[in-house]
């Protein structure tokens, strides 16, 4: 356990030093947003055992809500983020109420279909800018004090938000509530027979995951300054699954590692191989499922246990 503490400390130190090290801050912020998204997703897949194939809906809805409020109504940064998160939470409640009626693969298919519905709404609704999306979303300033125009200031805000979400997820998982979620994941019938109202637990986990995904989406809009249909696209739902699976579902660090790998891969590989990136991502998916289902972090932990 002490070793893990050292790794976290080193990672935290590295994250704090990023602007000094000369790493492109926008890239790092994008990475952190997707890491947050993957962590939120992992709360559902890894710790509650529910595979949602439609998490892009929450990420994208919050991204659109924040982008729209800032560009069309001139809302401040903090209220716009808050509104985006609330929108994602509300959508999570709606989709969750329907989706938790089914389990396993049906749950996956239902969330996928409902996310597709959200996609079509975003495509055709009058305020989303259709195919163009919303451009030029200004970052504004945080509570009128901290101007976020500079990438470094924005970076530290995103980093703080990420750290808060990461800590929050750890707290949730280690709470009695999280223990019940794990019990449901491992043996649903047993959890029912112990007297737990499992649907309420599942719904709350789903809404929490959707809410935190929304925060990631809202921040991403502010970081990059735009929201497009690719945020709500099915491919985005697929990518967050890959990040979680590749890093290790059900581990805390896994989604972060997975997100870092996938975002880096996309950023640098797309220059070299162009559109073949999709093929490579598909290949990684296949390899993950066939060869290392516990993910990178999960396999490492298993290796350490064996020794």
């Amino acid at each position: 356990m002490r070793k893990a503490g050292i790794v976290y400390a080193l990672a935290g130190l590295f994250a704090l030093c990023v602007p000094i090290l000369g790493i492109y801050p926008i890239f790092m912020m994008k990475l952190l947003c997707f890491a947050m998204f993957a962590c939120a997703f992992n709360l559902l897949l890894g710790f509650s055992g529910m595979l949602s194939f439609g998490h892009a809906a929450f990420f994208g809805t919050a991204a659109y809500a924040t982008g729209w409020l800032v560009t069309a109504h001139g809302w401040g940064t903090a209220p716009a983020i808050l509104a985006g998160v609330i929108a994602a939470a509300a959508l999570g409640l709606g989709i969750g109420l329907i989706a938790i009626r089914r389990r396993g693969i049906y749950f996956a298919m239902v969330t996928m279909a409902l996310a597709q519905l959200v996609y079509f709404v975003c495509l055709e609704a009058p305020f989303t800018g259709g195919e163009n999306g919303l451009q030029d979303v200004a970052r504004g300033s945080l509570v009128g004090v901290l101007a976020l125009k500079s990438d470094v200031a924005m970076y530290y805000v995103v980093l703080a938000a990420f750290a808060a979400v990461f800590a929050m997820i750890r707290r949730i998982v280690h709470s009695p509530f999280g223990q019940v979620l794990k019990a449901i994941r491992d043996n649903e019938s047993r959890a029912i027979s112990l007297g737990y109202d499992i649907n309420r637990y599942k719904l709350l986990a789903f809404v929490l995951s959707a809410t935190l995904s929304g925060l990631a989406g809202s921040l991403k809009t502010l970081v990059l300054g735009f929201t497009t249909l690719s945020d709500v696209l099915q491919a985005n739902s697929g990518e967050v699954i890959l990040m979680t699976l590749l890093g290790g579902a059900g581990t805390f660090a896994g989604p972060v590692v997975g997100a870092a790998l996938v975002v880096t891969l996309q950023e640098y590989l797309s220059d070299i191989v162009g559109g073949w990136v999709t093929v490579i991502i598909g290949g990684v998916f296949v390899a993950c499922v066939l060869a290392f289902r516990r993910g990178i972090v999960g396999e490492l932990a298993a290796l350490r246990l064996r020794r």
């Binding site: 194939f53 693969i105 298919m109 996928m112 519905l117 697929g238 990136v277 296949v286 993950c288 066939l290």
Partner: protein
Amino acid sequence: MLGLVNGAFYALLSLGLAVIFGLMGVVNFAHGAFYTLGAFAALLGLQWFGVNYWGALVLAPLAVGVLGVVLERLFLRHVYKLEPLYGLLLTFGLSLIAEGCLRELFGSSGRSYPVPDALQGAINMGFMILPIYRAWVILASLVICGGTWFVIERTRLGSTLRAATENAQLLQAFGVNVPLLSAATYGGGVALAALAGVLAAPVIVVSPLMGNSLVTVVFAVVVIGGMGSILGSVVSGLTLGVVEGFTKVIYPEASNIVVFVIMALVLILRPAGLFGKE
């Protein structure tokens, strides 16, 4: 009428999904990709080898079916013992690979496939004009669905297949080659998808992305109909196609989402699906 044509494709695709799921417990996300591959096989067969429509109707499903068997042997057979979610993720990866390859090799712009001469023209039915090709698609898919149902419910091969769903281990003890059976089932299921692709090629734009948008709708159809029920998937496929067609006339903006809205309603009112038993 256009709705019924779409419904025919939904029915064919959800039929293949239902067969594969019923016998192998795998939700085949790559179903849309195989549908696309079928259409592309027909198109390339025509351009490169001069294979006409009727030839493609036989050869494309055959080729895609063989590909399906190979993929089953290489990848899918490893996930049967795992949770069904892994099958979904694996086939999702496979569909990304197929889609990416097609897009890089042939570009994402659409191409068109000519309607065969024998099926050109239209019949004037008085109240509406029915293009012969569309009538053919509906007829052909009904015959195929009926045929598949017959094979599974009424023949010896079908009873073996159903036995394998019940208890594969026991069946193997009786001397039936179960791995061969599941490879053949997967090949047959995706061949159905490819057949739908060939049938669709002349009425839609053939592009690498054509299967992607369809597969989600078909999933919704399957959820509505209840998976594993062959009759259910065919009936709900056709019905939803018609409903979608009507919506296109009455309120076009909603035509893309009507199937999903119906799915949500069905889940609220009857969570097991219309024909499902859970």
